[in-house]
Symmetry: D2
Subunit: 244 residues, 4 copies
Amino acid sequence: MNRSINVTIWNEYRHEKTNEKVASIYPEGMHKAIADGLAVTGTVRTATLDEPEHGLTDDVLASTDVLVWWGHMAHDEVNDEIVERVRQRVLRGMGLIVLHSGHFSKIFKKLMGTSCDLKWREADEKERIWIVNPGHPIADGLGEYIELPHEEMYGEHFDIPQPDELVMVSWFEGGEVFRSGCCYTRGMGRIFYFRPGHETYPTYFNPEIRKVINNAVQWTAPVDREYPRYGHAQPLETIKGIQA
Amino acid sequence: MNRSINVTIWNEYRHEKTNEKVASIYPEGMHKAIADGLAVTGTVRTATLDEPEHGLTDDVLASTDVLVWWGHMAHDEVNDEIVERVRQRVLRGMGLIVLHSGHFSKIFKKLMGTSCDLKWREADEKERIWIVNPGHPIADGLGEYIELPHEEMYGEHFDIPQPDELVMVSWFEGGEVFRSGCCYTRGMGRIFYFRPGHETYPTYFNPEIRKVINNAVQWTAPVDREYPRYGHAQPLETIKGIQA
Amino acid sequence: MNRSINVTIWNEYRHEKTNEKVASIYPEGMHKAIADGLAVTGTVRTATLDEPEHGLTDDVLASTDVLVWWGHMAHDEVNDEIVERVRQRVLRGMGLIVLHSGHFSKIFKKLMGTSCDLKWREADEKERIWIVNPGHPIADGLGEYIELPHEEMYGEHFDIPQPDELVMVSWFEGGEVFRSGCCYTRGMGRIFYFRPGHETYPTYFNPEIRKVINNAVQWTAPVDREYPRYGHAQPLETIKGIQA
Amino acid sequence: MNRSINVTIWNEYRHEKTNEKVASIYPEGMHKAIADGLAVTGTVRTATLDEPEHGLTDDVLASTDVLVWWGHMAHDEVNDEIVERVRQRVLRGMGLIVLHSGHFSKIFKKLMGTSCDLKWREADEKERIWIVNPGHPIADGLGEYIELPHEEMYGEHFDIPQPDELVMVSWFEGGEVFRSGCCYTRGMGRIFYFRPGHETYPTYFNPEIRKVINNAVQWTAPVDREYPRYGHAQPLETIKGIQA
């Protein structure tokens, strides 16, 4: 597929500046690694927390088809008005891909309505991400599972609304499972939550993980249609003498 | 069924005090009519906007299995802290039945994550609520449809997440359709949105409408289990020398 | 989008030969009108009931990405082995678009598992197909609804499994509603049921109806991946001395 | 809850007669162990493959609210007419609980429309069944997971339609995951697939497994309403001079 899709990758970009291990894996930031993995014909831009308006100005969002979100230690520093600005864009059709610890971001929690809480553990353990919906576009080109030798564990119960479509379920060495690839539509916007990507592992260089993110960009890209009209409506048919 | 279920009916209770037509239909308030229609073995209480804490104290909520919500003209006057208090209860298992104009209540919007907007028209028109999931417990004891001779119209697009289960779809004389009976689970709580019930019609005296609300009380009643544990977790299996 | 997609349009092609009104609307068959409305970069072929193997040989199906199905008066004449052949292709990823009276085709009933029964009436009545999921790819480029001045009525209850995604709901002049645009995944195959298209109306010349079918071709087109492996499996991890 | 529900437990009942290990665990048959675990106020009956009409006469089915199904080595010996008889009952509201290897039964495959295939392995491995929908009635009274020290492995991809509600996901020691507790509605009937229960393990004596089956009996029990009317319908509203 070669639709032109404009992607903006938002990264908190803090761990990379303060943690040597993270900096050694992602010297230019996780957003750079994610951007390098994208194969789209439109633009690929990045934005980070410490830029003015977190890099998410009205202009940037207006020209964004799909927004990718990675955040972790500074969710609370994201300005509520900007969160609402992003949410309004999603409801109007902008795609949103929420990665890993973004499960606790303000934008994801606000769109889901639940706590988005989960179990976690950092123990360098093996993760195997099984495809449970092999006909889904986000599973295009993948094998039966993606194996990551070392990742942070996320375990159920994951407090999310039941996904409209569940594409992936993870197995963890330490004994847990997790719904790792979850599709939603909210308003006109499509949302994909994708679990892997702890900052201390080179997950976003993995070709299969990159393939998933590329597929998700295609899947979340907006349709071309007007926002619905809401509010007071004239009848379309005649009712008791009210002219339609 | 005769599980003991404690129900609290929350009503804004403003139209009844200021509008003669509404007062003549619901002289003791819409909450009273809804309460009179319930057939449960537990308690039935009511609470209204102008009571202290809107009648929704911690104690009241702690002893509520299912909360029914009707609001319209004063959504904005509902205190945000109390909205969050209700939401936390829902996530922990309290059932929530949102009626008619409650689609725009803070609690429903916060749990859905979308705008919850829709089309509307007041034209005394006929509504026919078709059952599209006849095996669902909320359809128990009903015919193929419920016909209301006069109601306010609500039309699509209704900006809600796709329901986990869609039970009813309305036909309106003026030319619109609407997803009128929508089931959700959020956290451990079950939510049912039910469309009819404009304040200027005696809808909540209708035996079939009352049947639906009774069914929904049964369906949204909580299970008996602990809230999941979230946060840091020890491994259940041995990982690389970490003792499970 | 310009993925190359090979489409085969299957038509029963009986009404056109025996009914003057139908012949006057669709002189070359309904399949020809549907084919003329497609805008794909791959091949567009047609197949009909009275061809050998109904035109659905192994070779034809092997080179078909999306199969469109219209049948009505001769569902029973479709050979069971060919139905199973089509079903196996769907489970392996071939898209299937089932039109109108195809709701009672052997292939749709076999894939759904339910009776697929419904209410119907031929009364030249108005249909208005409302979009209830405006962000869905099948809603791309459409307005808020599609209005057809005259169509056969199909009414609820429609005995289908709850759609994975419900995109459209019809309003009918005579008082009924119908879930008109329904998305399913079965195996690796995606299925879209689309209601309109009675043989006595020129529905398949309508540009908006054609737009929906084009969108559905894109949506049902298969992913590029292997069929999952089933059956006996060796462990991936060591279990009690069994070497993984 | 104490609704009166009449349950019939169907068991293939072959392994118990030919395999010493199975006979030692289930000397009176698996159906007897499942029946002993039920706590319902209605009747509990059993039926087996080698009885006339497999024990599933019209009379038996007419007085059955919920049918439980266990089969494995002799799926093909189940008469097609009786399978269709059961399916018709399900579509008219009878609940169906399909256990373990019943995934490959004729009745389950016919209701699902897919191959219902999966991966499997007999290696005495540990299974941990995680609850992913803790507010669901089938999760009532359970902890966060059910642990079975030894079970047969079933692994993804499990070729089923996406469940209407997914309640449980299994973790297996050998590296796989599986959607183990799956809810469907087909026609008016509710269906629950529950994974565990290989014949060589005493799984149906496990109190938590028995709790799940009891919960599922409550959840699948039919509503009290008429079967919908299908076929030709008179208009409910006036259309162009046709009297409603």
